[in-house]
């Protein structure tokens, strides 16, 4: 019997569904890469994928790559270039359709923190964090430049904060048209896909609202795991369960079972 779909797998499938065939897409390391290559293997065979390392035309071999330059993604590339090329010429230019990024913390306006946990406001003096994380990497560049971004995060109350401790990658900042102050070429996050459901921004206020839940989750569980008063969007509803072909495609990409451990 097929092993049931894990929450991480559901998140990856729901994220992959956000990718459309033919798009120019950039995938970060880890789960977002699995979600992206799942989309390519399932419903978006014509997606033009790249990593921020400037590895083009490649599909992972032997399981989840250890990094975006890992030999598992360097074994069948059609072009190797550079960070300046991938994140600059192809993302900061405004050409990239969609990017998938992760988040240690995300807030009601889709701002992402991957830099550190201070346990509250940093204050006027930039003191060392209680827990130092991995920094912005290419996510800031994708958040500024890609036409839209999809944020992936495990849905836990401590991660879904009223305000992130540090904005590593801008979402809609304070909401409304705050992004326009900075002249970003990219449009901002179109969805936060989590282990419990999907949040999407209100078209005017840019506050993220609950848009859908999975068969195994529901409005109350999601609200209880969100650190702000999460509103439910008009038209919100259950998200279709993974089809057999979706799950089979994801598991072909996730050969080493990274998403089945959690």
């Amino acid at each position: 019997m097929t092993q049931p779909c894990t929450r991480q797998e559901m998140m990856a499938i729901a994220t992959g569904r956000e990718i459309r065939d033919g798009e120019l897409a950039i995938f970060g390391v880890g789960l977002s890469m699995l979600a992206g290559f799942f989309a390519q293997a399932h419903h978006a065979p014509g997606v033009r994928s790249m990593t921020e390392g400037g590895v083009y035309g490649a599909t992972p071999v032997g399981g989840l790559p250890w990094g975006i330059e890992c030999n598992r993604i360097s074994a069948n590339a059609t072009s190797f270039t550079s960070a300046l090329d991938a994140l600059g010429c192809l993302v900061a230019s405004g050409r990239c359709d969609v990017g998938i990024i992760g988040a240690a913390q995300v807030d009601r306006f889709g701002n992402v923190n991957t830099t550190g946990i201070w346990d509250g406001p940093i204050g006027e003096t930039y003191r060392p964090p209680k827990t130092r994380l991995a920094g912005a990497g290419g996510a800031n560049d994708i958040a500024c430049g890609a036409k839209r971004t999809v944020i992936m995060a495990a849905h836990e109350r401590k991660r879904f904060a009223e305000r992130v401790d540090y904005i590593s990658s801008p979402g809609y900042l304070e909401g409304g048209d705050a992004r326009s102050r900075h002249g970003f070429v990219g449009g901002g996050p179109s969805a936060i896909v989590t282990t419990l459901g999907i949040l999407r921004p209100d078209p005017e206020t840019k506050e993220f609202l609950l848009d859908g839940w999975y068969a195994f989750s529901g409005v109350e569980e999601i609200r209880a795991n969100t650190g702000w008063d999460l509103k439910v969007a008009p038209g919100a509803g259950p998200i279709p369960e993974p089809t057999e072909s979706e799950l089979a495609a994801l598991r072909r990409v996730d050969e080493t079972g990274a998403l089945r451990k959690g």
């Binding site: 990094g67 030999n71 360097s74 912005a136 500024c144 430049g145």
Partner: protein, 331 residues
């Protein structure tokens, strides 16, 4: 023929590094091509108070930070990708003994490009509007930070625009797959920002997995992204990126990546790691023995090995490299 620039690793560190310098490496990604062996040698020679310019953290910066050899660092990314957070760097930052100024993975090559072109500043279309712009570990009392990514007026549109400061590190230790004895280099895999770094740094030392005859460069001149004219010295050091990977040459050593990062999570573990994997070998043969013949063979059986095929015929045998190195040492 131009004289060889091949010198031993220890000699390169003696000749080109000093305490307090701005040291750049890691113009590679965290698990890939980085001159990790150069960082081990920096520690063997007791270098300290380094200002590290690493586009991305790697196990090299993780180790240097864990030991306390770095007091300032500038990075676009400070983790170890799927291997998790970099415990040595993380400890140093959390304790306050290392000031880490954050940028992004596009900001760092833009700043290196600015240094390479001798630009006064580089326009910033990214990093603005976030805490990367507003917070500086080098000026922790300023909020928002004034000198990190200041705002100027675009003279063409009149709109405000952020600007990055250019980078010109004192020295760059750059890992490459193949170099000839004069310092022409071919990198297999993404070059990440090694091109920009090779032009931005005041001095460049190449650390190559293999040395090839210059005829190889004449066959593939389009692929020589680092030419000898910007290179001071060449070090031959197989498995120089270990435990990280070098496309075409060897895979990432998953077991050692984990062992190393776990060790660097504590002072005791770091001291033990230093004894076992930094101070424990006398020369290249000792280093290679430390990795072990069996493990080297397993890592070299990479799915990317075919990438090296066009160049194999020009790889110089060890005795030729040794002879050239002996000549370089006395030069």
């Amino acid at each position: 023929m131009a004289p060889s620039k091949l010198i031993p690793l220890a000699e390169a560190v003696r000749r080109f590094t000093w305490d307090g310098m701005q040291y750049a490496s890691g113009a590679a990604l965290p698990i890939g091509s980085d001159a990790v062996a150069f960082g081990r040698e920096l520690l063997r020679q007791g270098r300290r108070d380094l200002h590290a310019v690493f586009h991305c953290n790697s196990q090299q910066l993780n180790l240097l930070a864990a030991v306390g050899a770095v007091t300032r660092a500038e990075c676009g990314f400070s983790g170890l990708e799927v291997f998790g957070f970099a415990n040595g760097l993380r400890r140093a930052v959390e304790s306050g003994r290392l000031a880490l100024d954050d940028y992004s993975n596009l900001a760092m090559p833009l700043r290196l490009l600015g240094g390479a072109l001798n630009w006064p500043f580089v326009p910033a279309t990214v990093n603005v509007g976030s805490d990367i712009q507003d917070r500086s570990a080098f000026a922790p009392g300023e909020h928002p930070a004034r000198a990190k990514i200041p705002t100027v007026t675009d003279p063409f549109t009149g709109r405000p625009v952020g600007v990055f400061s250019p980078l010109k590190p004192d020295i760059a230790a750059i890992h490459v797959t193949l170099a000839d004895p004069q310092g022409n280099a071919i990198m297999l895999g993404t070059e990440w920002s090694r091109y920009e770094l090779s032009r931005a740094a005041k001095r460049v030392v190449l650390i190559a997995d293999a040395i090839v005859d210059t005829a190889c460069m004449r066959q593939f001149p389009n692929l020589v992204r680092i030419p000898d004219i910007v290179v001071e010295a060449v070090v031959h050091w197989p498995f120089a990126a270990w435990p990280q990977s070098s496309p075409g040459m060897y895979d990432v050593d998953e077991e050692h990546m984990r062992l190393m990062n776990k060790a660097l999570a504590t002072e005791e573990g770091t001291a033990q790691y230093r004894r076992d994997f930094v101070d424990s070998y006398d020369d290249l043969d000792g280093y290679l023995a430390l990795i072990g013949a069996e493990r080297r063979a397993a890592l070299a059986a990479t799915q990317t090995a075919f990438l090296l095929d066009p160049y194999r015929r020009w790889i110089l045998p060890a005795e030729d490299v040794a002879a050239l190195q002996a000549a370089g040492e006395t030069a």
